[in-house]
């Protein structure tokens, strides 16, 4: 049973949130993880999610928006089913990160922070994702793909298009 009546989240996530708020000396410390889990479930942080999180943490919605807007990896608009994040930070840049990014743009027909019309893919240029040893790298949802070339990118994208890619949350 969720602590919030008419929760907008799944029963599992609601239960997780109920527990989460008990873990910290002050409730609001649960804010950032909550935003992230909410995004993972809904695909982005919706206004309804902002309201419920504010309610759960006894915060003003404004407080939630303040924190939400600070983090570039939290979204307030839906992303594609597969969110493609291409790293162009130093290591990747030196090893062709921009080529990978350009190739993605071309193949998907979308730019930075855009979503394909069918809602399958979205694209983002991001800072270092911690895979420098295998640069250039990209991340699709939470799954890593490294040592990329345009050809490898095509394979990866095709895999997701066919619904065969991993889709971990």
């Amino acid at each position: 049973m969720s602590n919030v009546a008419n929760t907008i989240f799944s029963p599992e996530l609601a239960a997780r949130f109920d527990h989460l708020v008990t873990l910290y000396p002050v409730k609001r410390s649960a804010l950032v993880p909550m935003l992230l889990y909410a995004q993972d479930e809904i695909g982005y942080v919706s206004d309804a999610a902002v309201s419920e999180i504010a309610q759960r943490l006894s915060l003003e919605e404004l407080d939630v928006r303040n924190v939400l807007s600070y983090y570039s990896m939290l979204r307030t608009k839906p992303a594609g089913k597969y969110n493609v994040q291409v790293c162009t930070n130093i290591s990747c840049m030196l090893r062709g990160g921009y080529t990978v990014l350009e190739h993605c743009k071309q193949q998907l027909g979308i730019g930075h922070k855009e979503v394909t019309p069918d809602g399958l893919f979205s694209l983002e240029e991001v800072e270092c994702i911690g895979a420098c040893c295998w640069a250039p790298a990209m991340q699709v949802n939470y799954d890593f793909h490294d040592d990329l070339t345009p050809e490898k990118v095509d394979v990866v994208l095709e895999m997701y298009r066919k619904g065969q890619g991993k889709d971990v949350k």
Partner: protein, 799 residues
Amino acid sequence: MPDVTLTVDGKQITAPAGTLLIEACKAAGIEIPAFCYYPGLSLQAACRMCVVRIEKMPKLATACTTTVAEGMVVQTETPEIVQARKATLQLLLGNHPLDCPVCDAGGECELQDMTFKYGAASSFYAEPKNHREEQQWSPVVYFDRPRCILCYRCVRMCGEGMDVFALGIQNRGSSAVIAPNVPAHLSPDQLAHVDCEQCGMCIDACPVGALTSGTYRYKTRPWEMNHVATVCTHCGDGCKTTLGVRSTSSGAEIVRGDNRDKSGINGDFLCNKGRYAFDFANHEGRITQPLVRKDGTLQPASWEEALSVAGSRLKELRDSRGGAALGVVGSNRITNEEAYLLQKFARTVLGTNNIDHHRTADYVAFAQALAGHADRAASLHDTLKAPAVLVVGGDPTTQAPATAWNLRSNVRQNRARLYLANVEPIKLRRQAKGFLQLAPYGYNALAAYLAGDEAAAAAAAADHAALASFREAVKAEQDLLILIGAELRGAELKRLIEFGLSIPGAKLALLADYVNSRGAADMGLLPDMLPGYTPVGSQSALATEYGAGTQPELTKPGMDLLEIFDAAARGNLAALYVVGSNPVGRLGIDPATLKDTFVVVQEMFLTETAALADVVFPAANLYEKGGSVTNSYGDLQLVSKAGDTAGVRSDFELIVRVADKMGADVRKLVPFGTSTGLRADMGQTRGAQSGEADRHAIWLAANNLEPRLSPFDPFAILDEVQRLVPGYNVLRLQLLSGNDQHLSPATPATVDLSQRRDLVSPSGDSLFTSGTLGRYSSMLGDLQRNQAQQLVQIHTAAD
């Protein structure tokens, strides 16, 4: 805390341990620049303007977050520091528009001052500036994003200070921006707004012109105004507000209200009414010439005609029907001098005790209950310092916003313990240590229960355990400050006060609605009380002065407000004299009631009451005259003339002129220039003696004294107030210096309160209303509409 000694710029200073370096320096006369630091709010250390060099510290340190320490050696202004501050300024100016020539803050801007001082005049940035359009967040709050220097003062002010939390900070780094609580995408007009109390404290705190006020923006420049410190007319707290005044062809227009030097009783604070609701003074509906009823309609008349009609008719009616057939209604918004003069006029010229006003709290019972305990009457200052506070009834957040501000500050800064007993879950409960939910109408029962009457528990609150522990907690306190709302009156109020007096060191105050509600009662605008709560008919210097005893009707209480209108309905009221009040509108009096009554009204507007009058005199408002007022707590303050509207006169002058036309001896009414009084050359003579007059004026000013040569000078009557009214032992120099002083009632308890009729009727004003006067403030009207719209939005959003 013990003092520590440190060296700043080679000068030894001492300060209590724990003091912030910036404050210690300020106290020693050393100014350290600061943008983000704001006394009383949490520390932010966001701007780095306050950096200083402290010996043995590796880097420059922020004086706004460093506490003083024994032996500390500090440099506050070296080439290194100057360079650091200059660099900070250059960064701030990187995207700052260069619109000082049109910016509201120009001339009063901390960024401008600092740029001037540190000479960061040229920029290293060649990039174009990132311009954003100005946003209107509410009728009174505007935001100009590029001007913002991200000091977060507004965010802290609104959150910590106001407990509203309507402003936040969004995004990060160079795109960080101050954001209001109604985001554009959730707003029907797709524009961002604030849903808040509209106090304007954020604007006041903003060191630059990023937040500007709807009333003042782009109207004038700071140096083009005269700044007059006076007292806000809108609630019983009586904040000092500084009105910015500009000359116009018809007098002097008030263009701004703000808290300029923060030297008043309200410290930092002003609410929306003190800041914006001065605009009634400029309302186009002002009456600016006398009106006399001719052939059934009110028509403009000359002063001479109107005064003669009023004077001769009043005299005639007094002589033919007697003082008992005359009634007088006074105001909560006139000065003490005017209120005193009005009751003196009623009692000595009209010969009647039929005088009353709209009572918004029972100060008679308050004075009676505190008789002999003058030191137990609290001042507004106590709300900021008392270690524990009990608030019974009322809702300070909306009815006495400065009181609420002080209580919040006291809880935040001194950990004061706040206890509330209320029938509503009022907003201050968020700061309260204990909140007692009372049963409907449970105030009297609570007073009885606190005083030890266990049987009253059932009627006081549903939760008996909470009630019991609440009483226990309150009784365990010492030096408790008890604030009482207008819900408690008469014998029950007395009972609560007696309970309060049983607590060691407790102090009490009774909260009323308008600037001089307390003064109106203090000055005897009551049928049964002379000034200073001297019962009519008792032996006193006042009674002798007013001839009670020689005139038998003056030894008996007169008719109260309701009785006056009852008498009118019966055809027994020959004349009614109303000063700055709208009883017809407020009490819903049928106009036919006054058909046989000769009505004289001193008013600013054609209110329901003025519309029925036979003679209407155009009156000046509180911002257009001098004198003194007394707030709910008994703090006396000076009122100064700021605005000026051609064609109006002060209530003081009007009363004197009417009395004169009635054939009264004006010199008796207002003791001016008497044989013991003052005669002086005020510059009428020019030529060889002119220097004499100027020297005299300078001498008077230097000694905070005033010449008293005119019957229209309110200070002429203040002498008499001081001489005759118990408790009004005014320190003249204190008053004239613009400082508040606390007065408490000083009459013995002689009145049987259970026999007094309860005529208190609180005005029920909200944050955005102010009685009849408030109807003539277009800004308050805008704020009401804005508020109503927002409620609709919130409801539609919830559906």
